[in-house]
């Protein structure tokens, strides 16, 4: 989905972007920062641990956090839970961390790229994330389809359910179709496709927040100390 953004790169937009890069490999981190700064993006902070990432985010309030999931003192999922309002999370992770990617997305991350993505793909994804768009890879769509199926097998009343159309769109994303191709195939506008994709993400994140709240409430009632 990230390859087919045919709107020209908006340089003014790019120049005003504020980014924080969180990764524990110094070489990888400096390579990322070099690529981003070469494109005119201002990297306002960097961190190599969960603790530093949270501190840097709160101090700089960036538009986008570029986040590696494996950190020495915890998981990037913890960072995602702590992002300040107005900051979007783009997960940049090595392959083979599917469970963590899913947890990060449920916790609020709106984009996912693997570390094999090219610099162009990365910049495109950063811009789209900053605009509040969802950056989906086929891999992420596959993870979300799996998660919806897993939730569907549970009897819980509040579980999120995809409409038939949303499932169809998510499957097509997972099979590598761009939103333009999906729009052509389903004979709808690209905007509609993007909306369906956003909805699949939003439902899962909402469900996750409800679950957390319910858990907190149950724990609070048990200890006689209501958290909500």
């Amino acid at each position: 989905m990230s390859h087919d953004d045919d709107s020209p790169p908006d340089t003014a937009d790019t120049a005003s972007l504020r980014i924080v890069v969180v990764d524990d490999h110094p070489i990888w981190r400096s390579a990322l920062i070099r690529d981003l700064e070469a494109a005119g993006v201002s990297v306002v902070g960097e961190a190599d641990t969960v603790a530093k990432a949270v501190a840097v985010m709160n101090a700089t309030r960036p538009h986008v956090v570029l986040l590696d999931l494996q950190l020495p003192d915890g998981s990037g999922v913890d960072v995602t839970r702590a992002v300040p309002a107005g900051t979007h999370v783009l997960v940049l992770s090595a392959s083979g961390e599917q469970a963590d990617v899913l947890a990060a997305v449920k916790a609020g991350a709106t984009g996912y790229l693997t570390k094999s993505a090219s610099a162009t793909e990365l910049l495109d994804a950063v811009r789209r994330t900053a605009r509040g768009e969802a950056v989906f890879t086929p891999a992420l769509a596959g993870l979300m389809l799996g998660e919806y199926r897993r939730l569907a097998s549970q009897s819980e009343k509040t579980r999120p359910v995809l409409t038939e159309r949303e499932t169809e769109v998510l499957r097509l994303v997972a099979k590598g179709l761009t939103s333009k191709e999906i729009a052509a195939r389903l004979v709808v506008s690209r905007r509609t496709v993007e909306n369906h994709v956003q909805a699949t993400l939003r439902k899962l994140q909402l469900h996750n927040r409800v679950e957390l709240a319910r858990y907190a409430l149950a724990e609070g009632l048990e200890t006689g100390d209501v958290v909500l």
Binding site: G142, L145, G146, R149, R171, K175
Partner: protein
């Protein structure tokens, strides 16, 4: 004390032997009752007792194993139900023994006429010994021996020798049952260790032939090697190593040898497929299939990708989506190549050339699944492979 009854393995075999013993001794009791019919004080009472013993035997041997507290598929039954069954068996045996005094004449009883249940009482001792080993066999045998003495009203020689035989049977069979069970467990452990060792050997070979060779090559030739070549070599072996590590972690948490996670078979394709970029989309949870089904499914996916190589054109990419629908697993393989008219697959099948006919459809059919191919000119080809779970 261990008290349990497993319907499988050595315990299951001992239980089945005990069923034969119960049936045979019941026939023996029936013959006995028939022969002494005229001598009993209450012949009808004797027949009633015989009928009760038959009913109880049927319950213990046939009905009770089918009760819902008895897990059928080789599981353990709850401890309380095994204890309850041993206790009830003992109570029935004691009652049958003491009933002799009610149906037979006093004279016959004190002169040592056969007791009403005869050897049938030993079934309670043997059952206890199988379920709880020598200690429980001994306890039940001692209780029954006491009942024998009470029934006879004295420590007559025939009574004490019967009691001795019961105690011996309880202890010996109990010891035997425990020993067999231990041997069986040790055998299972040895087999698990062997399987683990074989898996370690396989991993060692894979790492030796793969990552170690690549590292050695880089160590020797890094100075003259192309940077892209080094990078692609590293990526390829990083992925392979990662999937080995994933398999290792999963094997230590999931004990089932039979099931294989289809994802670990497909993951290496993403970076090792030689001719084009392949993108994988899969659930975060393992997609478990019976070993050979998973292997065949992965082979069908490779055949579909081979097909992409042959027909889609050099610039086409391929995507693989794995979906777990619970009662079935679906893998879609799509490319964005030149596609084909829908009759082309049939045509190709007639010519016997294309992979779709032989490797894919045939393979899936042998698994009880199906393969469907959809395509249009200039819109790539999509193969959907579906295999049911049994």
């Amino acid at each position: 004390m261990r008290i349990d009854v497993r319907p499988t393995g050595s315990q299951g075999a001992l239980w089945r032997a005990l069923i034969v013993f119960r049936a045979a001794s019941l026939v023996f009791v029936a013959v006995q009752v028939g022969r002494s019919y005229a001598d009993y004080a209450h012949p009808l009472g004797a027949v009633t007792a015989l009928a009760a013993m038959a009913v109880w035997s049927v319950f213990v041997c046939i009905v009770q194993p089918m009760l819902p507290v008895f897990p059928r598929a080789g599981g353990w039954r709850p401890r309380w139900s095994a204890v309850a069954m041993v206790a009830a068996d003992l109570a029935v045996a004691v009652a049958a023994l003491l009933a002799t005094r009610l149906v037979d004449t006093h004279e016959r009883v004190v002169t040592g006429a056969p007791t009403l249940p005869g050897t049938w009482t030993a079934a309670a001792v043997l059952g206890a010994a199988i379920a709880g080993g020598a200690p429980l066999g001994l306890v039940v045998a001692v209780v029954l021996s006491a009942a024998l003495v009470v029934e006879r009203g004295s420590f007559a020689t025939t009574t004490t020798s019967s009691a001795t035989l019961l105690v011996l049977a309880g202890v010996v069979v109990g010891y035997l049952a425990t020993t067999t069970l231990k041997a069986e467990e040790q055998f299972a452990q040895v087999r698990a260790l062997e399987a683990a060792r074989a898996e370690r050997d396989r991993l060692a070979r894979a790492i030796h032939d793969g990552a170690l060779q690549a590292l050695a090559l880089i160590a020797r030739d890094a100075a003259v090697m192309d940077r892209d070549a080094i990078a692609s070599l590293a990526t390829e072996h990083e992925t392979a190593l990662r999937s080995h590590v994933t398999a290792l972690v999963r094997d230590s948490t999931v004990s089932s040898i039979a099931d294989v996670d289809l994802r670990t078979l497909l993951t290496p394709l993403e970076t090792t497929w030689p001719h084009r970029a392949i993108t994988l989309a899969m659930p975060a949870e393992p997609v478990l299939l019976t070993g050979h089904v998973a292997v065949d499914m992965a082979a069908a996916v490779k055949a579909a990708l081979d097909n992409v190589d042959r027909h889609a054109g050099p610039s086409a990419s391929a995507w693989v989506l794995v979906e777990d629908e619970g009662d079935a697993v679906v893998v879609s393989v799509r490319d964005d190549g030149c596609g084909m008219a829908s009759d082309r697959a049939d045509e190709a099948r007639a010519v016997g050339r294309i992979g779709i006919a032989g490797s894919i459809v045939g393979r899936l059919a042998s698994l009880g699944g199906s393969a469907t191919v959809t395509s249009a000119v200039d819109d790539g080809v999509e193969v959907e492979l579906r295999v049911p779970r049994r």
